[in-house]
């Protein structure tokens, strides 16, 4: 399936892009991250420490083992710091 990926804050800066489209068969966020790590050295570096990263599926915050079947948009970003 085609997925639109969105990146924010330091992930956006280190990847050098705020969005990219990927074709993937990943069933969960964890599987998607494994695929992304293999995509480039830059991706491998950014996704090395998942304790520093949060994810959202179709704009809902989810756990790393969350299913992504049928999702349109997956976002990765650091822990939020609003307020």
């Amino acid at each position: 399936m085609m997925l639109e990926l969105r990146y924010f804050a330091w992930l956006r800066e280190r990847l050098g892009t705020e969005r990219e489209a990927v074709e993937t068969d990943a069933a969960t966020i964890g599987e998607l991250v494994a695929e992304l790590r293999a995509k480039s050295d830059r991706h491998a570096h950014v996704f090395a420490d998942m304790s520093a990263i949060r994810a959202a599926v179709d704009q809902e915050l989810v756990a790393m083992d969350a299913a992504i079947g049928g999702a349109r948009e997956v976002a990765f970003f650091p822990p939020m710091t609003g307020g």
Binding site: F8, A9, Q59, G82
Partner: protein, 151 residues
């Protein structure tokens, strides 16, 4: 701002007095109004020049609306408002504001704290501090996550 909107996400500065006065107009039956306003510190590491706030348009509004809805279900409120800015902010400028209105003050105070605790770690905003030495993303505090466990 006087149009009764309860979730406001904007780049523009705001007048906290004007927002609060407009909010007060919407609070039928309330005997208590509590507000909190977050302001850009002018002392971060001594030489903060600016703060840049990034957000996730779309998810931001949904997350704030869900947090507000949660507060309305947990506390006895007659109204609740969340306003948060993004973009480029100067020291001492207001960043965000929550306001709650309730028949009694205990609900208004508790709900304002609840809104703050949740929006700090559940609404997709990220702060970056610009100083004379460069720019740095603000790290989330472990306390922020711990603060959610009391609710």
């Amino acid at each position: 701002m006087g149009d009764g909107k309860t979730i406001i996400v904007q780049a523009a500065p705001f007048d906290m007095g004007a927002v609060l006065n407009a909010f007060a107009e919407t609070t039928d039956g309330a005997g208590a109004i509590v507000s909190f306003c977050g302001v850009v510190r002018d002392v971060a590491a001594g030489d903060l020049e600016a703060m840049v706030i990034e957000h996730y348009p779309g998810m931001t509004e949904k997350a704030l609306a869900a947090i507000r809805e949660d507060a309305l279900n947990r506390f006895s409120l007659s109204a609740a408002l969340i306003l948060h800015r993004y973009g480029h902010l100067a020291p001492r400028e207001p960043i965000m504001m929550v306001a709650t209105a309730a028949p009694h003050r205990s609900d208004a105070f508790a709900a304002a704290e609840f809104l703050m605790d949740y929006l700090k770690s559940r609404a997709p905003f990220w702060k970056k501090e610009i100083t004379g030495r460069g720019a740095e993303w603000v790290a989330a505090q472990d306390d922020d996550e711990a603060a959610l466990r009391r609710w």
